[in-house]
Structure formats: structure tokens, C-alpha cells
């Protein structure tokens, strides 16, 4: 054991954390601050028992947030053993260290939802849990970032993929219980009622009201798009991103009108956004 001192770094005090999910949550919150980039992090852990895998995932998280894990302190023999087995330095730091200390505010307990979601990730079930689907975001003011010129080739390919796919063209109303799926794009002239399901490898376009479940980019293309005269789907899935209709928009049916402003759905940083398509004057 040695007394810890770190140049260009700080200590994160997590002695009160009893669960791995709390550690991950607080750590990701602290490291998200701009002053926390490219620093050496010392983790002050309490009595929590961590396995080598859990410590590795903590280390990976810190590296993902553009910092380095310098050392940890712990009062658990098991954590100590795990840390030694994967070459993480263990120190004992005192309060008189000159490095700035980020004491996480203990009154503000981590949001229960987030901890639950993280529990799901670190628990036995690692797949998508039905209870953590985000809500669809309606945002007509959203400014889409221009595609980056120097983005990688496979991203460019994904972006352009729907244009190269064949298209299934249907001219009728798709009713509850009916399922339309295609290895290409799907164009429907008519409504898609609640309880119906549209699954396409490419884009989905509906000349009518889209109210069922719709999945574009079903083989993982997150750049696929969904367009309709009125987008009111129960659930939208684009690539691997799922989103549900907000509970506040609990419309059992949509009033038909003579005027529609077409809408478009796309993914942005893991959420799905619906935006009205206006003429660009």
C-alpha cells in the first residue's frame, strides 16, 4: 500500500455506493463534466465487493469518457483481490491530498430509473428490457446536423442503402393484426391502423396516417427513415433504436382532416425524433 497522490487528476469519492449500478451512474455523471476530460481518476470505494469483470467495466467506462483510471482504494478484501488480478493499482489515500476532490453530493440520490436500467445491464439479462424504452420526441425545431464529409465509408453506405433496395408498393389500408415485411423499402398508399405492423429493411413511407408499429432498417440500419402524412405510431423502431408513443399523447384515434403536414422520423443519438417536413423557402 502506498499513499496516493495524483498529478493532473482527482479523486471520486464513492465510499457510500453499495451497488455497481450506483458507481457507474455517479461516475458517468462526474466524468461528463468538461473539466473531467483527460485526467487521472482515483476511485475511493467502500465496502462493496467487486469482481474483476466489474472492475474492468468501470475501467472501460472511464476510458470511454476520455480519462484514465489511476488507482482505487477499497475496504473490501474481495475487491482488493480482483483489482490485483487485473493490475489495477490499489492505494490508500488520505484527505490531505492536494488533488481536487470531487465529492459527489450525497443528498441527491441517483435517479431510481437510471439505477434500475443499469441493474438491467449488469444483471443477468443483458438484452433489451421492455421497461426501458424511451419516448418518441416530437421536435419540429430540431436542426439535423449535416453529414460529416470525412465519415467512414461503411456509414456512408448505410446512409445510402435504402436508395439501392427494391421497394414494395401497396395500395390499401393495413388493418390491425396484419403484418407487412420486406427486404427493401415499403410504400403504402393508405392508412396503417393501430395493431398493424410494418417491417422494412430500408425506409418506410406511408401516404396516410401511420398508427401501428413500424420498424425501418430492420437489419440494423439506424439511418433508415420513416415518413407519413401523419405519424402517430404506437412504437417506432429504427435499426436497433426503439421508442414508444408518449403516454401524454394517448389518442385512441386520429381525427381525419383535409390538411396534413407530412412528418419524418429518424434517429439521433439513440433517440427517435419526429419532425414536420415544411417547404424550405
Amino acid at each position: 500500500m502506498e499513499t496516493g497522490y495524483i498529478d493532473n487528476g482527482f479523486i471520486v469519492d464513492l465510499t457510500h455506493a453499495l451497488k455497481i449500478s450506483e458507481i457507474i451512474y455517479e461516475l458517468s455523471r462526474t466524468l461528463d463534466m468538461p473539466e473531467a476530460k483527460e485526467k487521472y481518476i482515483c476511485l475511493k470505494l467502500g465496502a462493496i465487493d467487486l469482481t474483476a469483470e466489474e472492475l474492468t467495466s468501470i475501467k472501460t467506462l472511464i476510458e470511454l469518457m476520455e480519462s484514465q483510471l489511476a488507482c482505487i482504494s477499497t475496504s473490501s478484501a474481495k475487491t482488493l483481490e480482483s483489482a490485483t488480478s487485473i493490475d489495477i493499482k490499489v492505494s490508500e489515500f488520505t484527505n490531505e491530498i492536494s488533488a481536487p476532490s470531487f465529492n459527489n453530493n450525497k443528498e441527491e440520490s441517483p435517479q431510481k430509473e437510471v439505477v434500475e436500467a443499469l441493474d438491467n445491464i449488469f444483471g443477468e439479462e443483458k438484452q433489451k428490457d421492455a421497461n426501458v424504452i424511451r419516448e418518441i420526441r416530437h421536435d419540429d425545431e430540431f436542426e439535423e446536423p449535416e453529414p460529416n464529409e470525412d465519415e467512414e465509408d461503411h456509414i456512408k453506405e448505410l446512409r445510402a442503402e435504402p436508395e439501392k433496395l427494391p421497394t414494395l408498393y401497396i395500395r390499401r389500408t393495413i388493418r390491425s393484426g396484419q403484418s407487412i415485411s420486406s427486404d427493401g423499402n415499403i410504400v403504402i398508399i393508405g392508412d396503417v391502423n393501430p395493431g398493424a405492423e410494418i417491417i422494412a429493411k430500408g425506409d418506410v413511407t406511408v401516404w396516410g396516417i401511420l398508427a401501428g408499429i413500424v420498424h425501418a432498417g430492420s437489419e440494423g440500419n439506424g439511418f433508415a427513415r420513416i415518413r407519413a402524412l401523419k405519424l402517430n405510431p404506437v412504437q417506432i423502431r429504427i435499426g436497433d433504436v426503439f421508442a414508444r408513443r408518449p403516454d401524454t399523447v394517448n389518442l385512441p384515434f386520429i381525427q381525419k382532416t383535409s390538411e396534413y403536414t407530412p412528418e419524418e422520423a429518424f434517429t439521433h443519438k439513440g433517440s427517435i425524433i419526429i419532425k414536420k417536413i415544411h417547404n424550405e423557402n
Binding site: E125, K128, A130, N131, Q235, R244, R245, P252
Partner: protein, 273 residues
């Protein structure tokens, strides 16, 4: 833990099986019990709508059976009550997608983790009914005080009695209009009980609030002022084993009729003067 698996069935459609399921489930969960509702009405699912959970369904019972996901992943948690879960039916498949053995297996797994497994049965007496009943050991037969519904309930009770696994069944009278029963324009609860000779677990009065609550995706038991909500909470208490009297709506109706008559006379007198 071994929970109780209760199937809610009726034979006739439209008598309120799904509404009963949603409300009893919610009431049991409000009473602190861990409850899971299983919708077996493949292709015509509604339970998710009544609970307002339609937008949260990712996996259905068919996905579980065909091993596209684990059972735990397919359980959708209720918006308000963490004790309440739903295993949804698939909308784009039909009754043949699940077999009796598979449903029994799912119910057996669920009763390890929950106090109550409520199985919502489709209308009819075909495969869908056979599937729904397969895993259950108790049944609630829903009927309305109409000849056709009572006749179908009688047929269902006959089928349930023939099943060894069903240890007990209770009768629930739905959409009851105490006023009409009091004036002999409708079958009374005593008539229904006499025809079916089954033990009564509750009477739910006709309530226009049910329509609103269905459209909102919010079970009526959450409305503390509603009479139907009160009746459903009453049924849930009786399922748990509490000794609460069945609300006698007929007596209440007779009383309110008398009061109305009294006041109308009083008011008419006022007008004449």
C-alpha cells in the same frame, strides 16, 4: 412462493372478461400483491389497451414460446404500480401459435414469482379457451344478466367442471342494472345464481365510467369515487380471502328510487304551487 393461477372466462364475447381482468389485477396489485396478467387472446388482444401499456410492448407470449426472448424480458411493468406486470398476446398471429403445454409451462414459471397469475381467456370454447384454462387451478366466470350470456356461462361451467385441474370456480355478474332488476325488467342476481348454481364472487354495476376508462387506458379501480371501481376492489378483497359482504346494489337502488320518488313528489308539489 407458489401463486394462484386464475383464469377469467365467459364463453360469450363482450361481457367484460378483459375489463374484469384489468380491474381485478390492478386492485390486487394495489392491495400489495404481486400480480401478472397473461393475455391469451392471440390476434385480438385488448388487455394492453385497457391498461394503457400498448406502446411498451416489445415481446409477446409468442416470442417467449418461440424462444426469441426470455420470459422475464417479455413482462411489461405497469405505469403506476410496480407490483403489476403484463404478458401481452401477439396481435399478428392466431390461436394456434401457442399450445396448451406451452401455456401451462409459462403459468408454472410465473406462479413461482407472483402471488397471482390472471389469465385473460378469449371468447368461445375452441382452442383459445382450452389453452387459457390449461395452466389455471381456479376460474372466474364472467356473465351479464342476459339470457344468452347466462346460457354460455352455463356451458363454460360445464366444461370447467370436467377439468380436473380447475379446483374451484366463482361467478361474477357484470353490467348489472339494479334499477331494472328491481323493477323486474332484467334478470336479478338471484335469478342468475339460481340458474347457474355457482358461488358468487361479486356484482359489478353498469357504469358509463368504464367506457371513459377504457379509452384512457386507466382501469376504473383507480377511480376511488366510481361505484364499479368500488365493486371491483371488493371482488379483489374477496379473492385474497377477506370477508367482505357483496355490495347489494338492489337494496341501494330501491332506497334511491324511494328517495327519488319522494323528492319528485316534493318538487312537483312545489311546481303546482
Amino acid at each position: 412462493m407458489t401463486g394462484r393461477v386464475i383464469v377469467i372466462t365467459s364463453g360469450k364475447g363482450g361481457v367484460g372478461k378483459t375489463t374484469t381482468n384489468a380491474n381485478i389485477g390492478t386492485a390486487l396489485a394495489r392491495a400489495g400483491k404481486k400480480v401478472v396478467m397473461v393475455d391469451t387472446d392471440l390476434g385480438l388482444r385488448n388487455l394492453d389497451l385497457l391498461l394503457g401499456l400498448e406502446n411498451r410492448i416489445v415481446y409477446t407470449i409468442v416470442d417467449v414460446v418461440e424462444e426469441r426472448c426470455k420470459l422475464k424480458q417479455a413482462l411489461v411493468k405497469d405505469k403506476k404500480n410496480p407490483n403489476l406486470c403484463l404478458l401481452a398476446a401477439a396481435q399478428t398471429r392466431d390461436k394456434s401459435a401457442v399450445t396448451e403445454e406451452q401455456l401451462k409451462d409459462i403459468c408454472d414459471q410465473l406462479k413461482e414469482k407472483f402471488d397471482f397469475v390472471l389469465v385473460d381467456c378469449p371468447a368461445g370454447i375452441e382452442q383459445g379457451f382450452q389453452n387459457a384454462v390449461a395452466g389455471a387451478s381456479e376460474a372466474i366466470v364472467v356473465t351479464t344478466p342476459e339470457m344468452s350470456a347466462v346460457r354460455d356461462a352455463d356451458r363454460i361451467i360445464g366444461l370447467l367442471e370436467a377439468k380436473e385441474e380447475i379446483k374451484s370456480y366463482k361467478l361474477l355478474i357484470n353490467r348489472y342494472r339494479p334499477n331494472m332488476a328491481a323493477s323486474k325488467d332484467m334478470m336479478s342476481k338471484d335469478d342468475v345464481v339460481e340458474i347457474l348454481s355457482a358461488e358468487l364472487i361479486g356484482i359489478i354495476p353498469e357504469d358509463t365510467g368504464i367506457i371513459t376508462s377504457t379509452n384512457k387506458g386507466e382501469p376504473i379501480v383507480n377511480d376511488d369515487d366510481s361505484l364499479a371501481g368500488r365493486a371491483y376492489r371488493n371482488v379483489a378483497q374477496r379473492i385474497i380471502g377477506e370477508d367482505v359482504p357483496i355490495i347489494d346494489f338492489e337494496e341501494e337502488a330501491k332506497l334511491s328510487n324511494k328517495i327519488k320518488k319522494f323528492f319528485s313528489k316534493f318538487l312537483n308539489k312545489g311546481k303546482e304551487n
